[in-house]
């Protein structure tokens, strides 16, 4: 696996706290471009918080404190003057629960581009096809594009949410336990589409199990109680962990 020399995202000494509890402590991590980086560990480890920080979704949460820097292409995303909406168009996010918005399949996929000002019908059809195809959903929904999105199955809804993020042609795709509510077949489909997507995108995923972490990782980072315990390229974290706590977790001694 050859990764680009310059990491896509650099997280530098980030500490983050909600009202009273620290969620992340001094986390430093480089995320390589065109690869799948897995953030895993037991619940409450700060993985989701880190994802939300990367596209600034926690901006509206009150009573939080943050120190450290997050760089995207070597630019501080929290610097004054950075447009949050532009950032979020470059960094897409998919959530744990499939969340079709009110409206049809077509409306869901085109939500983002339309908000960004897309009017051209031909271009819209193009985006619709490309995004659904990349999310491995096109074949299943091509005849029901104008049906309500909530009529799709759970697995289809989650891939629809991935397609919705892809419609904005982001550079980075953040996925927070995207398969936690899905059956094994749908999970396999989502994972398969991730392998296709990493050619064009930088992917950061919080998997819903250690097994999934091991399946999809090009690069893995283990989080415990807000601390980054260790991170390794490829699958070394699962075969030859350096730290005792990592080994205990991946071999199932706790978690």
């Amino acid at each position: 696996m050859v990764t680009d020399p310059a990491p896509k995202i650099r997280i530098q000494d980030v500490t983050y706290a909600y009202d009273d509890a620290a969620a992340l402590r001094n986390v430093t991590l480089d995320i390589p471009a065109h690869a799948i980086t897995v953030l895993f560990g037991p619940a409450g480890g700060g993985k989701t918080t880190l994802l939300r920080l990367i596209n600034r979704l926690n901006d509206l949460v009150e009573g939080t404190r943050m120190s450290g820097q997050i760089l995207l292409d070597n630019e501080d995303i929290y610097a004054p003057g950075v447009s949050v909406t532009d950032l979020r168009r470059r960094v897409g996010m998919v959530f744990a629960l499939p969340l079709p918005l009110p409206g049809s399949v077509r409306q869901n996929v085109l939500y983002g581009p339309r908000l960004a000002g897309l009017r051209d019908q031909g271009r819209a059809d193009e985006i619709l096809f490309r995004s659904l195809n990349q999310a491995a959903l096109w074949e299943e929904v091509k005849d029901r594009l104008d049906d309500s999105a909530s009529a799709l199955s759970g697995g289809q809804q989650q891939r629809l949410c991935i397609a919705r993020s892809l419609a904005l042609e982001p550079e980075v795709l953040l996925l927070d336990e995207p398969t936690s509510g899905l059956d094994p077949i749908s999970t396999a489909k989502v994972e398969h589409s991730l392998f296709e997507l990493k050619k064009d995108y930088t992917i950061v995923i919080v998997p819903h199990s250690v097994q999934q972490a091991a399946r999809v990782a090009d690069h893995a980072a283990f989080f415990l109680m807000g601390e980054l315990i260790e991170h390794q390229p490829e699958k070394k974290l699962f075969t030859a962990p350096q730290k005792k706590r990592t080994e205990d977790y991946v071999t199932g001694r706790f978690g």
Binding site: E62, F95, L99, Y111, S148, S150
Partner: protein, 298 residues
Amino acid sequence: MKNKNHLRWSEFLIQTLIRVLGFSSIGFVLLIFLFLLREGIPVFFQVSPTNLFGTRWYPTFDLFGTLPLILGSVLVTVTAIVIAVPLGVTTAVFVREVAPNWAREVLKPMIEVLAGIPSVVLGFFGMTLLAPFVRETLGFPTGLTAFTGALILAYMALPTIISVAEDALDAVPKSYRDAGLAMGATQWQTIWRVVVPGARSGIVTAVMLGMGRAIGETMAVMMVTGNAARMPLSLDSIFRPARTMTATIAAEMGEVAQGSVHYHALFGIGILLFLLTFIINLAAATTIFKKRRRGGLR
């Protein structure tokens, strides 16, 4: 053994009591409805339909045209709703989505207190302050107009609309907001294109409840609309006095001879009012139901 018996008895007593209370409240509503029908139905036989749905309401000359009253009610209510809905829904959005936490905690109870102001107080306020204000700013011969009534009614419906719509917005999962924001929507776009559509059924309910409050309101309306039973047909009718169905019943019921045609006519108006509210509620219920079945709503 004795103790067990005792338990069984108290259980039986409580159950019976609750059952009697429950059925009696249904029974009372039913009795009121039957009474309304008994007193109101005769007018439909005593007065010819052309008279009853005519344009002139002069009970002393045996003219019982209810049309100006129906249109008066509709005019005042619709105007009130046109004023109150945009104001109420945007206030709800502000309180729920934009205002900081501390402001929300102050505003919400304050709005709910507003709902408790007795309507006669609002009517008095409308008569002494709002009516002269309307007369002077708009330059009409009188400030007691349908418009003044609509303003007071809008004010009365606002707390209901705000409060219910705010609850509906609150029920939209936080994840919807995240999903909107994560797509690069601004806060405003997220509110308008994701959160508000998500709360649509609740907002429709809010509007309907507000409308119910407005159309049934009597006291405040009677005090400020001028009570002239004229057909509101010209464009400026909104700025002329009008008379509603409720005000007519309240104003005339006290001095009518019991059992007379006029007496039955007032109950007849009550039946019409009931039908009107029933139709509105039915329409609201079916819209909500249809939307929900299509799956477009939560």
